[in-house]
Amino acid sequence: MHIQNDYADQIRLISGSQDLKCMKCGRCSASCPQYEEMDVRPHQFVSYLQRGDIDALMDCESIWKCLSCFACVERCPRDVKPARLIEAARLLRIRRQSDDEFITPEQVPALLELDPDIPQQLLASVFRKYVK
């Protein structure tokens, strides 16, 4: 439990997000384009954090589903920044164990051969999002 609380504080620190401001209005989940894809929904991020259930947050699918489109951040009436919360959970997960199997630099030439249109920007993004 102690470790979990440490993680909760780390998430608060990394995200710079104030979970206590949340009034559970649901505008984040109402705005999220990836809601259906997520197992933990945007309005629930704060709940997981507040009860210290950080392992579940770090293991959830939502950390890979958030597009960082910031619709939730823009529309949140309390400035809670749900996208920053889930990003912090993703960072903790990546730092502990990066998803290296998804992509390695060696795979890039093959990918480009398969689809020569892939923009550099996509490759750069993917390395930022999935790899340590």
Binding site: L13, P33, L67, A71, A88, L91, I118, Q120, L122
Partner: protein
Amino acid sequence: MVFSYYPGCTLKTQAKELDRLARNSAKVLGIILEEVEDWQCCGAVYPLGTDEIATKLASVRVLKEAAKKGQPLVTLCAACTHVIKRVNDDMKNNGDIRRKVNKYMEEEADYKGETEVLHLIEVINKYIGFDKLKEYVKNPLTGRKIGAYYGCMLLRPSSVMAFDDPENPTIFEKFIKALGADPVIYPYRNECCGGYISLKEKDRVKEMVATIKENAKHNGAEQLITACPLCLYNLKQISCRDLNIDYLTEILAEALGITYNSEEEVSYAYSK
């Protein structure tokens, strides 16, 4: 008007047109874009973590180069605009990040967010004005129904990006109108295209893009323009008859009457 210019990785590779046509068009408009020397990739994704320092350094180096010249920094790619504007905001308003970055860089002068970061469309709006832009148009795009696809990164979070009204933006529509075409306003122009997940989950991206394109077509668009190479790539993942997807610089160059393969024009920017 001389500006520092940050093309970014994709504009040197997949999105060469976005870069070349921008330089050519800018020259016609009297905007000189001086490419920042030895720039590095901004990373394409803004490092949201407040403890992420190393991933912000590439942006700070570019910002600092522009600051040395006292020039605003112009970007074109939506992702570069997003990342560099946000890092600049951190350097200006987040004392902790500013201190750590400056300490890490160990250079004489600290950087405190002095540089103004502008997307090319903001430069045109601010320094030329869309009314004046009309006067430069040689081939007005009369009768063309063009929708702007803003995506996420230029608009949100609006408190930092300060690009336009994040829910009902109008700057691209004013631009399209100035070029003589009919701007098509459609509600999905600020909805996400799926972004980086297209490598892992292409089908999901196709679903999202389909909704955007249907919405644009429903409202009468025959062409979409974007400032983002990834948005362009994603939007092209499903074919859709009668709806071309192009960079905003392509319609700009077209309206200004810039011939497509003029190497001379390109070299202008380097030689000043």
